[in-house]
Amino acid sequence: MEQVFLAVENIDKSFAGVHALNDVSLKIKKGEIHCLAGENGSGKSTLIKVIAGVEKPDSGQIIIDNKKYHHLHPIDAIHEGIQVIYQDFSLFPNLTVAENLALNSQLEMRKKLVSWKQVKETAEKALQLINVDLDLNRLVENLPVADKQLVAISRALMQDAKLVIMDEPTTALTQKEVERLFKIIKSMQEKGISTLFVSHKLREVLDISERLTILRNGQKVIEGNVEEFDETKITYYMTGRNVSSNKFISEKKSGDEKPILSVTNLSSDGFFDDINFDLYKGEVLGITGLLGSGRTELALALFGYSPADKGEIHINGQKIHIKSIQDAMRNGIAYVPEDRLNEGLFMKQSISRNIYVGILDSIKKALGLINVSEADSIAASLIKDLNINADDPLRPVQTLSGGNQQRVVLARWLSTKAKLIILNGPTVGVDIGSKTDILEKLKELAKEGLGIMIISDDIPELVQTCSRILVMHKGKIIRTLEGDEIEEKAISNILNNLD
């Protein structure tokens, strides 16, 4: 077991002046579960690409099974048993599970006609490798994310993988699915297959890996056995600074104060049922639950995207009717969507425009004309307020990092003078340093009197930020946690013991 399978030595790689990797070395033993951690832009993806043979390093060497390579071709990497599972899985969405699993081998046999019987057999064998059961005839595009990932993993294993590299494999998975994935990784380990696990989720890093390599700004900062690390230490190595993570305690609410938001008997057929809660000034309210618990639908109902069928919504004691997004916005309700890329931002448009889209109506002059320089200056002041790292607000928002992008969406809603901001997965795909900044900003906004509601899977994030947490299951609120009850173990226990 102590044999080294892959050794990357002194790799340098620059892209037009940017030093993406600077003298990086990495060793992975046979059957080892190794974690590569680092913030976005630390060089993780470049290193993976070098190992997979996609990027050619400027200097340094790669030794696989005692064979030296100065630069590796992707096909060499595959023949050496290196398989990468990228975030998008590289599957064919319009083909079935069986086709995705078996077509490669059918092609390699260079047969003119496809034997569907063989396809089915190969596919079954592939799934057996990780001991899961999927409907072979389903189209991959209809599968849940977790199952797509399983297809990708079994496809990788079929090709005699000796090292499976997983790029951020848990981003879209729920707690239970993550556990299933970890079991599979462990069973691969028993067969002597190494795993390189790329992640910036600290909890998972500590749970699964045996050894850990941390990159920062293209350099390896530390490598070691996982026992030597704890969360604060990893954070420190990843960001180069100490990040505080103290709990948020809301100020005592006075008895006669009306809640910012009050929801009674809210129902939406098939999604959620009889939801009741209040949100007071100075509070950060968290909502969690498994995917399909109705938490997103509840948020979308409050935002008017898919209005509720029954029940009442009060804002500052006033009953309101939300039938459309415009109704919600008029009443000061804002929503930061889960899917920043597709729902939150106009990636190719300027940072400035992405912010002032929210206030077009309020800065409109005669004939619907907009004073663009006034709009730009409003955006600029918000960019400053929220510490968005943008030299030129007229550059496309896609040039920003995930954390800065998320702050752009937040800036948009702050400019509208919203009373209540609902954030769905506020820090998905955001660096740890940036994440803490965003969460601290949310607490600050709550203290200033803005209603903040966070929907999230990330339990440490909820514990760190929320003063009250609602747990949803099958469309109902099953638990409300407050004060000392807010604790990571307690919440995971509730989530893991759902029927």
Binding site: A16, L360, R412
Partner: protein, 324 residues
């Protein structure tokens, strides 16, 4: 900004084309007569292309522009040649012309609203919805006219297509007016900014509170009105309205828009870029016409020109990317 650079580049190309054409046709291209005749010719395609640009900015397309233009022209023709008495007095004629123009614009507006409704509310893809309305409008126009041209418009009306104000041909002024209004609408109005955003990402538009359906309705209505204005200019210039006039303009308008920097996927493009593009093509076709190339050769050169520009853009983007 990147957009400014590509417009500058386009302008440069237009100037180069102009110079080449002037050199190839010494003493003919660079005459007041030629410049004037170009200023009469390009506005039709120019106005149609402006309409196409509006549709493309939203991420759609409008294949019915020319059919709308012809339908509007034919209705105008019926008013001015059948409804209006032969011996009408001058001031009566002016009234009839004004009425005909109004009906034409209304035809454009209503057809555009129908397109917008089908696309925004029914959810039919723009390419299919407008193909459908195009067929319907052409069909109706053929039935009304039995396929014949409607000729014989009153003199006053024909002035729109054939006379000058000071030294400027009126079709050119109509194009200029449309371009200026659209410039402000797109760059400086909330409608324009929202249209660009919808074209960039329709889902994010919904989530940021833009009334997507209403903006789409308005944009196709605008395209319809521009189509009817193009119809008025075409009819006044040729003194006839016909069900299938200028059908090649549809795809040429797409070509002009793409050449002018309009992103076929939506969200990007400008009036200035488009104007330069339509001028370049006019220089090309006038120039080659003087060289006695056949009309088909003109289309050939336009196609080559498009591919050339796309090629230049491709290599430039590649260079920018690799220098990052």
């Amino acid at each position: 900004m990147a957009a400014d650079r590509s417009i500058l580049q386009l302008l440069l190309i237009a100037i180069v084309v102009f110079i080449i054409m002037a050199l190839l046709n010494p003493g003919k291209f660079l005459t007041l007569l030629n410049i004037e005749s170009m200023a009469y010719q390009f506005p039709e395609l120019g106005i149609i292309s402006l309409g196409m640009m509006i549709a493309m900015l939203s991420g759609g397309i409008d294949l019915s522009i020319v059919s709308i233009a012809n339908m509007a022209s034919i209705l105008m023709g019926l008013i001015l040649t059948k409804m209006m008495p032969q011996n009408a007095a001058n001031n009566q004629i002016v009234l009839f012309v004004a009425f005909a123009l109004l009906i034409s614009l209304l035809t454009g507006l209503i057809s555009g609203l129908i397109n917008g409704f089908l696309i925004a509310h029914v959810g039919i893809p723009a390419i299919l919805a407008t193909l459908g309305t195009s067929q319907i409008l052409t069909g109706i126009a053929i039935v009304i006219t039995k396929g014949y041209a409607v000729p014989g418009f009153p003199e006053i009306f024909l002035k729109i297509g054939n006379s000058k104000l000071f030294i400027f041909p009126i079709p050119f002024l109509v194009f200029l007016a449309c371009a200026i209004v659209l410039f402000f609408l797109l760059q400086k109005s909330s409608f324009g900014i929202r249209l660009y955003l919808i074209g960039t990402n329709i889902k994010a538009s919904v989530f940021s509170g833009i009334k997507v359906k209403s903006i789409l309705m308005k944009s196709y209505a605008l395209t319809g009105v521009l189509a009817s204005i193009a119809g008025i200019v075409m009819t006044a210039r040729t003194n006839s309205a016909k069900a299938d006039y200028g059908s090649s303009y549809v795809l040429q308008a797409v070509l002009v828009a793409v050449l002018g920097g309009v992103n076929p996927a939506g969200g990007f493009g400008s009036v200035i870029g488009l104007s330069i593009a339509v001028l370049s093509l006019q220089f090309l076709s006038s120039g080659f016409n003087m060289l006695r190339f056949s009309n088909f050769a003109t289309e050939f050169t336009w196609g080559m020109f498009l591919l050339l520009i796309m090629g230049i853009n491709y290599f430039q983007n590649k260079r920018i990317k690799s220098s990052k």
